[in-house]
Symmetry: C2
Subunit: 187 residues, 2 copies
């Protein structure tokens, strides 16, 4: 994998998050990345293609990081659900946190037929499925229901933290999650 390709992906991801996708032109991306449009269009057939790859990379990075944390720091399956929000908080309070990519992408591309919107929706679904897997392992009966509720808290908190840094949304989301998890485990 070319180093320039990686650089473009990284720079594009950064600019998309800080300035918005539609407000970031390819001219800006290549200027910051220190290359030219010809190189960008060689690796990424179009801007839409670049957006899709950036989204995919961000999502994979997040899920890899999270599942790594979970497998390394927890032993029993039930523990994972409990500690989940500790790691989410760690992710959110990181200085380079800029919100969840697929949430913002779906806002910028509201048309349900649009490729970017569809990928965002798919990633949202995948994330809920991952949470549902944790809930199943923990012995929750309505695993899908709890997963959906936790995803609302997580995505809501990330949205809130992106809108106003340090607003403490993730802390209260964690408290709410504990209550919901305990309630779900009792049924």
């Amino acid at each position: 994998m070319s180093v320039l390709r990686e650089k473009i992906l990284h720079v594009a991801s950064d600019l998309f998050q800080t300035r918005g996708i539609n407000s970031t032109g390819v001219n800006t991306i290549v200027a910051v990345a220190g290359t030219t449009k010809m190189t960008l269009y060689k690796y990424f057939h179009s801007k839409e293609n670049l957006i899709l790859e950036v989204l995919q990379k961000n999502h994979q990075d997040f899920e890899n990081w999270l599942s790594d944390k979970l497998t390394k720091n927890t032993k029993k399956p039930a523990e994972k659900l409990q500690k989940l929000f500790d790691f989410i908080e760690e992710w959110v309070v990181a200085p380079d946190f800029r919100g969840m990519a697929f949430i913002k992408a779906s806002a910028e591309f509201p048309d349900e037929e649009n490729a970017v919107h569809r990928l965002s929706a798919e990633q949202s679904r995948q994330f809920r499925q991952y949470l549902a897997g944790l809930a199943v392992e923990a012995g929750v009966r309505d695993a899908d229901g709890l997963a959906l509720q936790l995803s609302l808290l997580i995505e809501g908190a990330m949205q809130a933290e992106q809108m106003k840094r340090g607003c403490g949304a993730i802390k209260y989301a964690k408290k709410a999650a504990t209550i919901l998890i305990n309630s779900a485990l009792k049924n």
Copy 2:
């Protein structure tokens, strides 16, 4: 208030929600509204100004609708918190629901110094404050905490429903809210 001004506001709001703000040009707005750019720029000094007015109108319409519903359909203060999510659901399942305006606006304008972003953040804060008022009336001790948690559920559910209509997010958000409210009332 001029009828053309109202028409422009309404059309702009609709297009911003369905196509995105940055993807909607003033040319499109005036064409759909059946007027010209000269008239638009007469009433709204700039496109940014129009965006701000659209946001403000949407937010006021929502809060007015919600508080109307609450005052007309509930009697005791504690009831309002319980019934809140019924009305939110009613709002979300309406066929013309297109997501919460200020969430999408803040995603399209991520810069915290930007006027649109600042208004969005302010509206999010106002909404939480409104919820906190309901929690106080209901006798919740940590009213701000519960309000924040409920706002996460609501905003998360609206985001999810906007991403994929009929995904049932609001139903599970309601269940989660009931648990959280009951838990908060016990403390």
